[in-house]
Symmetry: C2
Subunit: 290 residues, 2 copies
């Protein structure tokens, strides 16, 4: 009999993929980690029952997370990745020779070690000499470190469990302090479609907007994330993702991408009316956001 | 016990929605028609087990199908809709006072009559005096009619059963002949992500490209269609969807949209690299397409 992995996108919506086998499962100190093999999505891994990355489309999420900010500020030299234990964001970052240091603060070492073993193409660059792995609480790290960064990538789970603190105003405030004057923060920003995620999207945007002079939302088609309409936040001290866009960076560096391109960069900031409406800050929803 | 409606997106992927009840089900001469009520998507209807439209997001599909061509040629006066039995495309068309006639050729009268009864907000404009309903085979109609049209909207099911003929080169060739010199054809163009639909996308584009001087693909986020990354074809005799775009048409006509806007129009034609690659006509895949 066929076995299926099912993920609840809401209480009333399920996404299911037929699996060949579960190849690993363990409860770490922070969460349940599992890896599965499937024909349709290749190998994928889950945290607490939610799909984090699969071989079929992880390139979309990771390319959009990294190449958007790198095309706005190609001077980025020092990067902080919060979360991102599968290594996909680091892999894309290491394609830029100009980047000198990548500090990755991932709370759960087991995620990194199992992804190195079971998702080696995603985790392929975690041993790059520029990468420093810190197995710590990201929210604590940004409160306490004195280091400055040009780019902070918040590659988190949803705001549950270990990920909760990475969606607070305090966390974003601390990130702001660590960023250089041309600094950019990008974060996974949930989805605008289903109600619960939409609420997180709204609150997250409201918080970033209060702290950063520039705070926008961009989107990508990620079929295996809830609704397939996935958002990223772009927040910065002074650089605007369209006005300061340097469209030929990847070409000049001979960086080949499977999803991202110049037109996609601009298009990803063009939001449907219903999403724009949900993000308007003088929406009554935003009164008293904590 | 909760009841679920499940749709296979591929043999290995399922999308499921919790339903309150099935409110109608009947096998018509052409297909099985069913209507369901759900909390998450409102009421929705299916043909042969595939979701066609739901109250939650049908606006996305129908707005993108209609407002894109109408913003390229606001002179459109006579429209042919093939399929589209739920009435959503007609509803959007009737918002343009400049349109004088809308012939809708839907093979299955039962779809129209049941949508009028069970999805009244979608089917709300089928009684508009400009609308003429013809319950005929669309492929035969375009072969035999002598009428000319400024816009042909191919609002079909997937190429199975009743929808098969609406994906053939003969059909597109006949549509071409019926179109005026500023004429545009738009069609539902499947999805680029899962293999089977990707193949249909490729073949459909190759056929349109051989017949129409201008043939492009555009996309929208439609969470309830397979992969959430849904495509439309734009084919025309001379008008280019970006070069000939008239961005202020909806504003001047005070047409309010929930998804479509000026930036979305342009952004929808910005395809990810992997989709562009799949559509390159000198791809060996395209040899001997019938």
């Amino acid at each position: 009999m066929a076995r299926w992995f099912s993920e609840p996108w809401t209480d009333d919506i399920k996404f299911s993929v037929k699996i060949n086998k579960r190849i690993f499962s363990k409860k770490s100190k922070y969460q349940k980690i599992a890896f599965y093999d499937s024909d349709e999505l290749g190998r994928f891994f889950t945290l607490d029952g939610y799909m984090m990355a699969n071989e079929r489309d992880e390139f979309i999420y990771h390319e959009m997370m990294i190449h958007v900010p790198m095309s706005v500020n190609p001077e980025i030299k020092s990067v902080l990745v919060i979360g991102g234990g599968d290594g996909g964001s680091v892999r894309e970052l290491t394609r830029y020779a100009s980047i000198q240091s990548i500090d990755m603060v991932e709370i759960d070492e087991e995620v990194v070690r199992t992804c190195e073993r079971y998702l080696p193409l995603t985790a392929s660059k975690l041993r790059d000499p520029r990468v420093k792995l810190l197995f710590e609480n990201g929210a604590l790290y940004v409160r306490e470190t004195g280091r400055k960064y040009d780019l902070i990538v918040v590659d988190s789970t949803d705001p549950y469990g270990a990920g909760t603190e990475l969606f607070t105003a305090d966390f974003y405030q601390n990130c702001f302090k660590l960023l250089s004057s041309g600094g950019i923060l990008v974060n996974q920003h949930e989805s605008p479609y289903f109600d619960e995620m939409k609420t997180i999207m709204q609150k997250t945007h409201a918080k970033l907007k209060k702290i950063f002079p520039i705070a926008l939302v961009y989107q990508a088609f990620i079929p295996t994330y809830a609704s397939g309409h996935w958002l990223f936040g772009f927040a910065s001290k002074k650089l605007h993702p369209i006005d300061n866009f340097k469209p030929d960076i990847q070409k000049s560096l001979n960086i080949k991408t499977k999803y991202y391109n110049k037109k996609i960069h601009i298009a990803s900031f063009a939001l449907p009316n219903y999403v724009k409406q949900a993000l308007i800050i003088d929406n009554p929803f935003f009164n008293n956001i904590k």
